[in-house]
């Protein structure tokens, strides 16, 4: 460090020492002391609300994230319990033409199970006797 730099450092420290000195001198210390004591007396030491709001921002974000994820998980579980399995997995619609006879039987079987749960006896006919075209027709009927 050369002489010029040392002088600059000394000047900087001197300036830093002067900063705020005037404002600090004008502070009424006794009034501040009494005001602090009064406020300490008035405000309860620790409130739950105060504790929550004093936490760092990252902690609040983490807590919010946990709440959102938890709520999402619970909602998902509840929805899964309500929806019939077939409603989620059945490949109805334009894909029917790609299915083999076995896949079609399996799909109709699943549908049959669903409908049987809701209205027992709705599909009593045996699927084994139907050919591919008949199965597709039946599926389209069920779909509509």
């Amino acid at each position: 460090m050369n002489m010029d730099e040392e002088l600059q450092d000394a000047r900087l420290r001197e300036l830093a020492r002067l900063l705020g000195a005037g404002a600090a001198e004008r502070l009424d210390v006794e009034r501040a002391a009494q005001a602090v004591v009064t406020r300490l007396r008035e405000r309860p030491r620790v409130t739950l609300r105060g504790w929550v709001w004093m936490q760092p921002a990252w902690l609040k974000i983490a807590a919010a994230l946990v709440l959102v994820l938890g709520a999402g998980f619970v909602t998902r579980v509840l929805l899964r319990e309500r929806l019939p399995a077939a409603a989620v997995v059945l490949p109805l619609g334009e894909d029917l033409t790609d299915l083999t006879a076995d896949q079609l039987r399996e799909t109709v079987g699943a549908l049959e199970q669903t409908f049987a749960d809701e209205s027992p006896g709705a599909l009593d006919a045996g699927l084994e006797s139907l050919n591919t075209i008949e199965l597709r027709a039946l599926l389209r009927t069920l779909e509509s």
């Binding site: 900063l19 705020g20 005037g22 600090a24 406020r39």
Partner: protein
Amino acid sequence: MPQAQSLAAADAVLIAAWQGGDEQAAAELVRRHARALARFLAAAGAPEADLDDLVQETFIRAFRAVARFRGQCQFRTWLLTIGGNVLKDAARRFQQVRVVPLDDELRSRDGDPHETAVAGEVEGRLREMLERLPHMQREVFLLRAQQGLEYEEIAAALGTSPGAARVHYHHAVRRLKESLQ
């Protein structure tokens, strides 16, 4: 530092008394440290109109959290770091451009009026630059340059290492020098 040690011992007695419910001990701690805290806050950018409130808020927070103070540094140093956080929170609320008045010392300084004006301008620029520094650099610079604290003390108060405090200080000094040239 025998004087600092005796000050710390006296503070410890007052803190213990406050924890035991002695309000006058709290008032005495305010009397002992309010001016240093005000100087620190004003230098860090606190508007003078809000200085009284910021000082009070800092003491309130400190007294509420005094159980967490375990003598890792001096009470005053710990108080100043709390003040820095109070100011940071308040700065979000201020969000305003302000004109910084020259300090009285600079206004009333004897000598060449031109020199006085130049000194005032330099101080104003320094204050502006300080406000633009990252929080950590500003705090370390003020604790070191304004309050005259050692790096070990600063590091203990800010929860960092003396080496890191030294680096923050040198970055701050470099940027401030650039702005003053």
